[in-house]
Symmetry: C2
Subunit: 338 residues, 2 copies
DNA sequence: TTGTACGCGTTATCAC
DNA sequence: GTGATAACGCGTACAA
């Protein structure tokens, strides 16, 4: 059936279509909602024809006002500059699509104020569900900002609560496991490189896991706004020197891929990449680092699967009116050391 | 003023608030829309109090149905895995925010079908404007998919039309300029590395610009789904050997940063990074490559500024009912060789 | 300064 | 099978 929609600016309403088809608006509504069981072939054909000619599309806003649902799911990412965020969105998006739901992405831009704005908008609109990788790390605080009754899944953050379903990674144990692996290889000193650790559950968990093995691990904290500052590199090099003087082997543990990328040139220029007394590991989701350091052991999360898992639970809850099952309120998608 | 919203599931409507405040719903409406000029201090205070107690928020859907606008702008990105896309969104988003508009991000995931789905949703909802980095490269085709009357700005694609305002980069001339720069340094052969060139205006323009200087440039075309395939690297190494045998210097011209990153390890392991007869250049928006190759000359676009520029024009058009000015329908944000 | 009443475009419950 | 018509929650003349 060719779509002959004319080119005028006019947007047709259900009423106008009804008039043109010589039926009532109720019948049009039935037609566009696929309730053909009680409708003559002739009227159906007639209506199809008119809709085709006019290029009529339903006004989703009016429909939402009437039905109180939208088939729309809001996905709030901490920062779309991170591969984790975009990939987790893509996972969620693809599963939601299979369930006749549409994912809409909001970027908090690593900014709590922005996250609040996003949540405010989401509360005002008719979203059937929410998947969020929150910046706010206090469950009581976050609770304030999410409209009651909005079906919500938390991703990548452990808020220590039963109120929401959470899809997380085994940050603590994989960090511990990785640290132990290198400890066994006689690496006696560990330098953790991360953005501000306190206040973000993922980084706190990772750091804690490492410290069960390296209680005295040092920390180089990166200021997000100036990741490439020379100061940091000097600190790292100085630590290496100190360890070398003491005949100790040094492990660099990057809590985020981007930070390793920032340090990589320095390591390269100082010929540290294949030094036997230096090891580098990192949380690294993309393939880039593994290509740069083919012999390295890296921690790989599965953000796509995390998003997909969150979406599956949410879709089920939306379409089948499932209520959260307390016993399975936290799903852990394990990261792998490889 | 403390927000004492109670914790019940109930969502208050304007009518209920009106009743509680002992005024009509019209007065509440005036209050929430800031029309305080004609309202007694007392009623205003009373209303503020009730709104505070009830935690009332306006139903954006109902408002949209009534006003036909939403203060929402849809931003459609080609693929949020690309730094360009996310950065252009962040630019647009920040400017829109300053204009009391909210940017909502749709990801086409490098998939034309997905782009169509996104546009369909956008057509159904009440968006005040659209900023799109389209996958569809035919203006007539794209025209079909965008609702008449939707204020639209095209980013990063030259659709060769006056119908829309377009914000683009000087892909052609910067490529030419860069090629010329290396030509002058006695690089006699150029190898272009890109995803499929035909069908995407940006890549076509870049390739054409290069070919004005290197008419015989070879092309290594990367299959997006298998960027790391060994085949490509072998091809590159073979070309180098051939050129070396003929005492020719070779320029590698990557049309996308990610591709250079994919090849980088190979170049590194074959000691090609500082070989005098090999040069590497690329369209490279992030700081990573420049750090990896501090002495290289790279092309840097400004996606943030492109998004911001698009948003500025759109915001002006939405808020001031400006109509497009034909004479300035294409804005070029130049990339720089640095 | 405030209230009444209608419209926005759909859906859904009755009737017929 | 189909048609009136009352919601849905808000904005806005027009009155008062």
């Amino acid at each position: 059936m060719v779509n002959n929609r004319n080119n005028s600016e006019h947007v047709f309403t259900i009423k106008e279509v009804a008039q043109l088809a010589g039926v009532s608006s109720a019948t049009i509504s039935r037609f566009i909602n696929g309730k053909m069981n009680r409708m003559s072939k002739e009227t159906a054909a007639k209506i199809a024809d008119i809709i085709d000619q006019t290029g009529f599309v339903v006004n989703a806003t009016a429909r939402q006002l009437s039905t109180h649902n939208s088939q729309l799911v809001a996905v709030v990412a901490a920062d779309i500059d991170d591969y984790f965020s975009t990939e987790f969105f893509k996972g969620a998006s693809s599963v939601l699509e299979q369930n006749q739901l549409t994912a809409i992405l909001f970027d908090s831009n690593s900014d709590k104020k922005r996250e609040l704005t996003n949540l405010k908008i989401i509360n005002h609109q008719v979203f059937d569900g929410l998947i969020i990788q929150p910046l706010i790390n206090e469950q009581s605080e976050l609770r304030q900002e999410i409209r009651q009754g909005l079906k919500t899944i938390i991703v990548d953050r452990d808020l220590h609560t039963q109120d929401w379903t959470m899809v997380t990674t085994n940050n603590y144990s994989i960090s511990q496991q990785t640290a132990a692996y290198f400890r066994q290889q006689q690496f006696d000193d560990c330098i953790v490189i991360s953005e501000a650790v306190t206040g973000t559950s993922t980084r706190e968990d990772r750091s804690a896991g490492i410290r069960t093995v390296f209680p005295n691990a040092s920390l180089i904290e990166i200021d997000n706004s100036r990741p490439f500052i020379k100061e940091n590199e000097k600190k790292a090099l100085a630590m290496i020197e100190k360890n070398r003087a003491a005949k100790r082997k040094t492990l660099f543990f990057f809590l985020k891929e981007r930070l390793l990328l920032a340090f990589f040139p320095t390591f390269m220029h100082h010929d540290l990449l294949s030094a036997p007394d230096i090891a580098i590991t990192a949380f690294s989701d993309t393939a880039i680092v593994k290509r740069l350091l083919p012999d390295s052991k890296l921690i790989k999360q599965d953000p796509f699967l995390m998003g997909a898992t969150a979406a599956e639970i949410l879709a089920d809850r939306i379409n089948n009116q499932q209520t959260p099952n307390i016993s399975s309120n936290q799903i852990v998608i394990p990261a792998k050391l490889q």
